[in-house]
Subunit: 200 residues, 2 copies
């Protein structure tokens, strides 16, 4: 069974996080969320008790674990997901260990998926120029360093990028297809009951 | 500013809950989630500490408050939302206080919204025969008592029903339109960046 790690932080866009998490679980992917603290850490002790991520529109989500370079690498998971939400994406994209782990997934040819402002992490991790998309609000920070596209989902080898909450379903379904195949994508899509003529 | 109450329980479908919550907040609706415990309660004491709802695909969400008949009525909120997820919808639809509060919203001409298996609460609350939809998996439990439709979103006076995670965006956007208007719906829809040709 493939496995996936989804990062979460204060300010993460809760729809992008939830649609991706839930869709991967529906496909049978072993899915784990990991909380990324602000860097440098404001943590004053060794407290490793569960934290609650306060998301971009106020929802409070309890992550499955804390992010840690040694336990979140491409030796453990087949896919890492960086969701959007301005504040959460800033925390993730500026975190040295997140940048390092993204590079390791790319090097090991595992999947790296970014949506919305999460695509900023492609730049901060120093990924090579390649096709990419993001939320329109951060396009100006990315279009000099990447071949910027405005498609709902852009697949560039093992880097998958997408645009916002409105593209989170095709983003998540694409990840299922890449991890397991198009039959599984179709199988889990049907009971979600999309309106007819939905273009994904 | 309009206000909305969204119920949550163990087994609630996290995409339906999150898409509705987040979209309402984006529209400026004062949005509160309330945890519904199984009935009869297995609670053995007076513990009112925060609980975590374990959702249908394993996500853990911290509700804003505990459901209580006296603080969740139509004198406080303009809209009550019953999300799906088989187990969560069963807990809500069988809970006498949830049934009572739904009747009070209808009587006071406030909005009642149900999605997926959440539509079962229309039956258990004894609502009058009227147009309604639900997830296909519970159609057989509803189509004798209601005028069952298969549209993505059905608006029947102040009862709004919908089908599943794939219709959660048009469901939530319809609620915004009914509470605030079509301009607000269009305003918050744009930055979500739906793919072109999305039929809602």
């Amino acid at each position: 069974m493939p496995s996936a790690l989804i990062l979460i932080a204060n300010g993460t866009e809760e729809m992008e996080f939830t649609i991706t998490y839930d869709t991967l679980v529906r496909a049978g992917v072993k899915t784990v969320s990991a909380y990324v603290a602000e860097y440098p850490s404001t943590d004053v002790g060794g407290d490793r008790s569960p934290v609650v991520a306060k998301c971009s529109r106020g929802m409070k989500i309890l992550p499955d674990m804390l992010f840690d370079l040694s336990s979140c690498g491409p030796d453990v998971y087949d896919l890492i997901v960086i969701p959007g939400g301005a504040q959460g994406a800033e925390t993730m994209s500026k975190h040295p260990s997140v940048q390092e782990v993204i590079k390791r997934y790319i090097e090991r040819n595992k999947l790296v998926a970014m949506i919305c402002a999460g695509s900023l992490a492609a730049k901060t991790a120093g990924l090579a120029r390649q096709p990419l998309t993001s939320h329109p609000s951060v396009k100006a920070q990315l279009d000099h360093d990447f071949d910027y596209l405005e498609d709902p989902v852009v697949v560039s080898d093992n880097l998958i990028t997408s645009r916002g909450p409105g593209t989170a379903f095709p983003f998540a379904l694409t990840l299922v297809e890449l991890l397991i195949g198009s039959e599984k994508r179709a199988e889990i899509r049907a009971p979600m009951v999309f309106p007819s003529n939905t273009p994904f």
